[in-house]
Amino acid sequence: MLELDWNIVIKNLPLLWKGMVLSLKLFAIALVGGIFFGTLLAMARLSSWWILRKPSQWLVDAIRAIPFIMAIFWFYFLTPKIVGAFTGEQGEAIGPFWSAVIAFILVESAYFSEIIRAGIQSIPRGQPWAAYALGMNYWQAMGNVVLPQAFRNMLPIMLTQAIILFQDTSLVYVVGLKDFLGAASTAGQISGRVVELYLFVALVYLVICFSLSRVVKRLQERMDVGRT
């Protein structure tokens, strides 16, 4: 049995912190982008126009059917080729971070769109009709009447999805990005001691995600009281 030496973690804290910053940056961009495009996708899926409804449904179903890592690889290997086709230059066109950002926004929009769609559908149909009767157009009815209530109803589920997203950011390890896990892995390879570093990473994720999930649970209980 190995003697654990936690000094290796302390020595690498600056590197690990840099990794955590990258993880948080990716998380924040993916969260905002995912909710924004997810809302648009959800609205398209609930549209009465076939041309909006069907393609958005196919897109969401296809993205949800493939592994997250597959999506990350798609953009990692393809963006240089696509950008290259336009600019005539090969090689690292936008870099692994931004290709990961695109993959994350796309995948998260698909997941968020399903949550948001359920949220919109939880609003009684009379509400948008009443808004239209008052002379509002589609965007006014959505923006002022339906979406604010829908978002309130789905807040707990969206936060849960955000926690999952935060955990999923560790997947960028597969394209060699130095996120929190990637930084620990690099430090481990240099020092030859991965055990303490991986245990530390697991502990940090556990503490963060567990505390956040407690917050979500409390929120859910409070909202249940309000609704009865």
Partner: protein, 256 residues
Amino acid sequence: MDWLNFAFFLEKAPSGGMTYLGWLASGVLWTLIVSICAWVIAFSLGAVLGVMRTTPIKWLSVPATIYVDIFRNIPLLVQMFLWYFVMPELIPTAMGDWLKQTYPYLLTLPFAQFSLWEFTAAVICLGLYTASRVAEQVRSGIQSLPRGQTNAGLAMGFTLPQVYRHVLLPMAFRLIIPPMTSEFLTIFKNSSTALVIGVLELTAQARQINEYTFQTFPTFIVATAVYIVITMTVIFCMRLLEKRVAVPGYVSQGGH
């Protein structure tokens, strides 16, 4: 259209005595084997944990809750590393050495370029991680049943295990077929994370073929299509199953 040329799949790949198509097929095979083995662990352990969480007995429900909280709040990739790199170092040295040096050679895996230990670590990791998710679904399935059912069962003179066996579980297991389908599909997709510890499943094979041939588009299109086709097939089969076992008037039957 030279970027969309599928002919190279029939060329001989550098190792394994197979064509590139053979590599891809072995990837599909190992994705399925890993997923199914992990699913056996996930479903059986998850069902037990889920039932434990709903019982009024503290020494059953508390450990199950702790299990779920731990396994759901650590990223799967990190758990993969914990099982593969960390666990052998934390058990007694002799056992750890056996695991890393003897165990992998007990059995040579067919069509695989990885060892039994990598496969086992991936299956354990995926199984135990998904068990925590299954446990949550089983718990909410049981809790969605009216409380009167438990009380009626107890009033009829059933013991608590009998109430579970004859009243709650037959209903709950039907209710959770749709969420269990999506959990199986999750394990199927998540099996791609096994590539970080060297298991050459479908995604890893796609990456490897791309590295050797630079045929990015065709390789990833075929691999993606395989994932989508298998997903659709599973959904279709589970809908049939759901209809077959539906209790009239209780679970919504088909139609959507």
